[in-house]
């Protein structure tokens, strides 16, 4: 039962109900399940729209450019920075254990299996998630999405399916770009201290590696793309509350997508280890 307090600021010292801890937990639990319920309905609408023609090829191409081409420079820079950081840290750690010769393999495996995918996912989540969430939220509050629907065009097919598909298709390619950038800059950072030809670096780094060592980790980023697209579209298309709502949609898109990417990675890493031992 909610407690009450007397608020001296109100006329007549009126009693003000104060929600108890149980009320707050109950409300948060409600909101939690309501959010997932609404997300489930949204996913169903998107799936139905995705498999029914006519398909929005033109809009898909536009989104592939938005998500892919325009994220490319940022992802490459992030990859380069990660490559340098890993090179510096790995060199120091490996030197302590007398394992400097393991540097190329350490860098290659670290980048391709772990850091490349996750950094790409988080960077794209920030750039694309926020942009997509804000764009769709802005369209929602200015009735543009209603106008699309009133024009007898399925807004889920035009707006959500194209964006989600673009994210799914582009994330693996962006991950490859980030990986290449990280390896190149990692080699370069190492070469400044201890010269090593790029050919030797690649030969030693990929020695004994198979496609299974790296491809599943690269293609798992399609799941990151699905998460980013889905969360951003969901947050954007159900926005309420004007400019404040647009801001909330953008922020929530980034925060939730980033969180779900990290949580999904826990499951995906285990899955890959089981399926591709």
């Amino acid at each position: 039962m909610a407690a009450t307090v007397i608020n001296p600021a109100l006329p007549g010292r009126q009693a003000v109900p104060v929600p108890s801890v149980f009320d707050s937990v109950g409300r948060l639990t409600n909101e939690f399940f309501e959010w997932f319920g609404n997300l489930g309905i949204f996913v169903w609408q998107v799936l139905r729209a995705a498999v029914t023609p006519p398909f929005e090829g033109r809009e898909l191409v536009r989104q592939l450019d938005e998500v892919g081409s325009k994220s490319f420079p940022l992802v490459v820079m992030a990859g380069a920075a990660i490559g340098v950081i890993l090179a510096l840290e790995a060199r120091y750690s490996l030197s302590r254990f007398g394992a400097k010769s393991m540097f190329p393999a350490t860098l290659v495996y670290s980048v391709l299996q772990v850091m490349g995918p996750i950094i790409t996912g988080l960077v794209v989540s920030g750039r694309v998630g926020a942009g997509m969430g804000a764009e769709l939220a802005s369209m929602k509050v200015t009735e543009q999405i209603d106008a699309i629907e009133a024009s007898a065009i399925n807004p889920y097919r035009l707006l959500a399916v194209t964006r989600i598909l673009a994210c799914i298709l582009m994330l693996p390619l962006l991950t490859l770009a980030a990986d290449a950038s990280a390896l190149l800059m990692g080699w370069f950072a190492q070469s400044l201290v201890e010269p090593l030809s790029f050919h030797q670096f690649i030969e030693k780094g990929f020695k004994g590696a198979t496609f299974n060592s790296f491809l599943p980790q690269t293609f798992k980023t399609s799941v990151y793309g699905l998460i980013i697209g889905l969360i951003a579209c969901f947050q954007g298309m159900r926005t309420r509350g004007g400019a404040a709502g647009v801001g909330r949609a953008a922020t929530n898109s980034v925060v939730l997508a980033s969180l779900f990417i990290i949580l999904a990675d826990v499951v995906l890493v285990k899955l890959i280890l089981v399926v591709f031992p």
């Binding site: 139905r48 200015t142 543009q144 106008a147 065009i153």
Partner: protein, 262 residues
């Protein structure tokens, strides 16, 4: 109070002879949480007619239009478009119905990432795929010329005024040659001269195309100019429906107050 059919007989409208109106709303109810917005509305509009729906702010006028176009679902009642009840129809089944309707939103709702020309071409690109790009361009020019915006094809919505955005919104609403036109506060936020220009434009288009039009407005002057009939809403009900003279001669307190304040 007279039924829609009685009024139709008095006014010699098509549905008096048994012809189905293009739009017929029967006993329509809609509430948001505990707030009843529409409490059993009965209205109908036939080909070539313009019905103005008036009322105070927050009386459900815009909700009525959103229900007719299917953006909201009624709690009960029916909405018949050419005799077919569309109340509660799923999104997938509303497509063919919506192609017969044009909707002008209160703030035009132009797609801000597209130019003026691309905005008007948008419905044509999706629903007239058999048109070549040159045919589509020509059609867009014709539509923009009808609303006096033919020179602004390449401009972005943010580069044009509110009145110009409404004109473009109107051109977009007419792209698929609709039989039914829904206008949500077409003169809201406009100066008197721009309002008059929009009214004249609506009258001209109505004369040429003979659509069944429903205009939601709180602007009595505009309603008198463009509408054949007026319906006044209060607390979710139609208080009176008829020509302006019927409203002027009414003894109902709310009607008198509304006319006095307008």
């Amino acid at each position: 109070m007279a039924t829609a059919h009685d009024i139709a007989i008095k006014q010699g409208r098509p549905e008096a002879n048994g012809s189905a109106p293009f739009v017929a709303v029967e006993n329509l109810r809609k509430a948001f949480a505990s707030h009843k917005v529409l409490n059993g509305i009965n209205l109908s509009v036939s080909r070539g007619e313009t019905l103005a729906v008036l009322g105070r702010s927050g009386t459900g006028k815009s909700v009525l239009l959103r229900l007719i176009i299917g953006l909201e679902t009624p709690d009960s009642g029916s909405i018949r478009i050419h005799g077919q009840n569309i109340a509660g129809l799923a999104l997938d089944h509303m497509g063919e119905i919506r192609k017969k309707m044009g909707f002008l939103f209160q703030h035009a709702a132009l797609y801000d990432s597209l130019t003026v020309g691309e905005n008007v071409a948008f419905p044509l690109r999706h629903h007239r795929r058999e048109m070549s790009s040159s045919e589509r361009e020509e059609r867009v020019r014709q539509l923009l010329a009808e609303v006096g915006m033919e020179g602004d094809l390449q401009k972005m919505p943010s580069d044009i005024s509110g009145g110009m955005q409404k004109r473009v919104g109107l051109a977009r609403a007419l792209a698929l040659e609709p039989e039914i036109l829904l206008l949500d506060e077409p003169t809201a936020g406009l100066d008197p001269i721009s309002s008059g220009e929009i009214d004249d434009l609506i009258l001209k288009l109505q004369r040429e195309r003979q659509m069944a039009s429903i205009v939601v407005t709180h602007d009595l002057h505009s309603a008198r100019t463009i509408a054949n009939r007026l319906a006044l809403l209060d607390q979710g009900n139609v208080v009176i429906e008829g020509e302006f003279e019927d409203l002027r001669q009414s003894d109902i307190g709310f009607v008198k107050e509304f006319l006095k304040q307008s």
